[in-house]
């Protein structure tokens, strides 16, 4: 273990087109050694140097935690996003050197569970690829239910079926196949834990259905990274540092703060871990809170902002940074 360092110098060893929307990227250490061991559900933050700007995006590790000679991630192309996925799809080729972070797990398995029930939608399948490998290697009891748009976009459905057989169930939208969630939930043994990763509408639906069916919140886990959204540019004053910064249309507030030379702490860059929480000293305008961290009271009070995903529209914003 190299103590105190969070950054790994990696090289892209392979880029595989999975389907029309998804590409898979393989990373190895530049020095050829093993990458850090991780637990299923962990993500790595990939640093993308694109001309004079740097984006940092989190991606779930999907390779087996039992084999760390490489890390793999899958990136779904988002044509209207801020450009991170387009950069990965269009610019990153085998041989490309990139900095990735040590793995961080904000979506870990509850190892006390008698059974793990996993629900995935679309690209939300990636953390489950690692988790099912981890559990299968230790004889764990799990079941995966995976909804896809159609056969062609069913990333890794074939691999999962091949690895885990009947424990994997696929639902194709274009074949009118639908997961009967209430029935599925009603049949699970006491002590089952439920995990969901996918579009936010799906996460909300699963959480609500489970709550209505009497599932305690302790047994329901979800991966809910919000990707930073583009928006109108805005100006911010960082009071502690005594500088003014400009947040561009395709840039997050956190990235703009980093570009100015500051290093606020972060783990997820997706509005869930709470690390980059920043106090608001004064503001004249409205916040666009996109995080899942701040309480509704905090959001209403306008006293805090999560710069990784949230934005601002108005005359002035002064932050304690």
């Amino acid at each position: 273990m190299k103590s105190g360092s969070n950054r790994i110098e990696a090289v892209v060893t392979d880029v595989v087109t999975v389907n029309d929307l998804v590409k898979r990227f393989h990373f190895q250490r530049v020095d050829g050694g093993l990458l850090p061991t991780f637990s299923g559900g962990a993500h790595t933050v990939v640093e993308m140097r694109d001309g004079d700007r740097t984006r940092l995006n989190p991606y779930s590790l999907m390779s087996s935690p039992l084999d760390t000679h490489d890390y793999t991630i899958s990136v779904r192309r988002d044509d209207v996003g801020r450009g991170g996925s387009l950069f990965m799809h269009n610019q990153v080729k085998p041989g490309h050197r990139m900095i990735i972070s040590n793995p961080v797990n904000l979506f870990s398995l509850d190892l006390r569970a008698r059974k793990h029930l996993m629900i995935a939608g679309g690209i939300g399948i990636t953390p489950f690829l690692a988790q099912t490998s981890q559990l299968a290697g230790r004889g764990g009891n799990f079941e995966l239910h995976y909804s896809v748009r159609n056969e062609a976009l069913a990333s890794y459905a074939d691999v999962l079926k091949q690895r885990h057989g009947k424990r994997v169930n696929i639902y194709r939208d274009d074949h009118e196949e639908r997961l009967d969630l209430p029935t599925l939930l009603a049949g699970q043994p006491l002590g089952t834990h439920l995990y969901v990763c996918g579009p936010s509408g799906m996460i909300d639906w699963v959480r609500k259905t489970a709550a209505d069916a009497g599932w305690p919140v302790e047994n329901v886990h979800y991966e809910h990274f919000a990707a930073p959204q583009p928006g109108k540019p805005f100006e911010v004053t960082l009071a502690v540092s005594g500088i003014g910064i400009h947040v561009g249309e395709n840039e997050s507030l956190l990235e703009a703060i980093e570009t100015a030379g500051l290093n606020p702490p972060y783990l997820c860059r997706g509005g869930v871990c709470g690390q980059c929480e920043t106090n608001v000293i004064s503001h004249d305008g409205k916040f666009l809170h996109n995080d899942h961290w701040l309480s509704d009271e905090d959001k209403a009070a306008g006293c805090k902002i999560m710069p990784c995903v949230s934005r601002f529209e108005g005359k002035s914003l002064v932050l304690e940074r």
């Binding site: 273990m1 105190g4 061991t37 637990s39 040590n102 793995p103 961080v104 190892l111 230790r138 302790e218």
Partner: protein
């Protein structure tokens, strides 16, 4: 190379002593002439040569004898090492971390050879040479946690992380400052700290927990804590309090120097990779008042800290009965001169 492992005891005839070199590297915990709780957590990075922070896991001259004392405690009371069923994976994580770090820090003492999951571990000071299969508990004489912590100085608590809290679900605890693993196992961070006075109200634990739950792989942290112990006894457990408690009434002005020890805990925090648990090693260092006061700065400063310690803390740390005697003894070694900043002995 050249750790001269001592043959000594931490019970009965108490032959434990620190060599002059060991005194110089003692982790004195006070950076100023007073003490109050603070979160005081810093990155656990290898630092100065010839300090206890030279390596992530310090091995010192007391290693062999401390491990013998641990074996005695476990023979008397096997409940000092426990693990709830879901923590086996964290046990393997702990074994891997300790073996790889020890072999890297002290190649002349420890050797680890890995061929896939076939591992070969050599511990020369303890005369151990074992082949086993990583991940297969049946190939070790003990659980992975017990196996490796019978070979590692300090106590080890292993905490599962769930719902933004830490749950003490496994551990090896034989050198503790008055807390019981058997009683506390399964508790969350706030519950196992329940008996600590003042700190809850100060919000110390809420802040500390927020920090600890966000510790990342490859970025361990540490903090120091302290108390005092009469006689160099490692096993100051509540289980045996009725046996060692009377020691506290034996302090006299004549024997303070030999009998009274400052006990410093280096608490470390590591994120474990497979289980996502937090490993919490608690390494105990003992130093007698005679040994401590070989540094005039430490003598002055410890006098001022102990004299001004709030009563609640003295009560919690169990110092009430002998504090006046020790303060009086130390006052004769404090000329009132200012002390230099920092922890070092000067």
């Amino acid at each position: 190379m050249g750790i001269n492992f001592k043959q000594e005891t931490f019970r009965d005839d108490y032959t434990f002593r620190n060599s002059p070199e060991q005194i110089r590297r003692f982790p004195f915990p006070f950076h100023e002439d007073g003490y109050m709780y603070s979160v005081n957590i810093e990155p656990h990075v290898p630092t100065r040569k010839n300090s206890v922070f030279e390596h992530l896991f310090d091995v010192d001259e007391h290693y062999v004898s401390e491990m013998r004392d641990r074996a005695i405690v476990l023979a008397e009371d096997p409940l000092r090492c426990q693990s709830l069923p879901h923590m086996t994976l964290a046990g393997w994580d702990t074994l891997e971390l300790l073996m790889t770090e020890k072999a890297a820090s002290y190649p002349d003492l420890f050797t680890l050879t890995r061929d896939g999951d076939k591992w070969h571990w050599i511990n020369r000071p303890l005369g151990i040479d074992d082949h086993f299969t990583f991940g297969d508990t049946a190939t070790l004489p003990y659980s992975p946690l017990e196996y490796i912590t019978r070979q590692s100085q300090g106590d080890f608590a292993v905490c599962d992380q769930r719902e933004n809290n830490l749950w003490m679900d496994a551990g090896m605890v034989t050198t503790q400052a008055d807390w019981s693993l058997d009683f506390d196992i399964g508790m969350n961070f706030f519950e196992w700290h329940a008996p600590v006075p003042l700190a809850h109200e100060m919000g110390v634990f809420t802040r500390a927990l927020k920090f600890l739950t966000s510790i990342q792989q490859g970025q361990p942290a540490r903090r120091l804590n302290w108390t005092m112990t009469i006689n160099p006894r490692l096993d100051t457990s509540p289980e045996n309090f009725h046996k060692w408690g009377t020691d506290r009434a034996t302090v006299t002005p004549e024997n303070v120097g030999q009998k009274v020890h400052l006990r410093v805990e280096v608490q470390m925090f590591f994120r474990l990779p497979r289980s996502n648990a937090i490993l919490f090693p608690i390494r105990c260092y003992l130093i007698s008042m005679d040994e401590l006061t070989t540094s005039p700065k430490w003598a002055r400063r410890f006098h001022r800290v102990l004299r001004d310690l709030p009563n609640e803390l003295a009560e919690y740390k169990g110092l009430v009965r002998y504090r006046p005697t020790v303060v009086e003894w130390l006052s004769k070694r404090d000329d009132g001169a200012p002390t230099s900043p920092g922890f070092g002995p000067d």
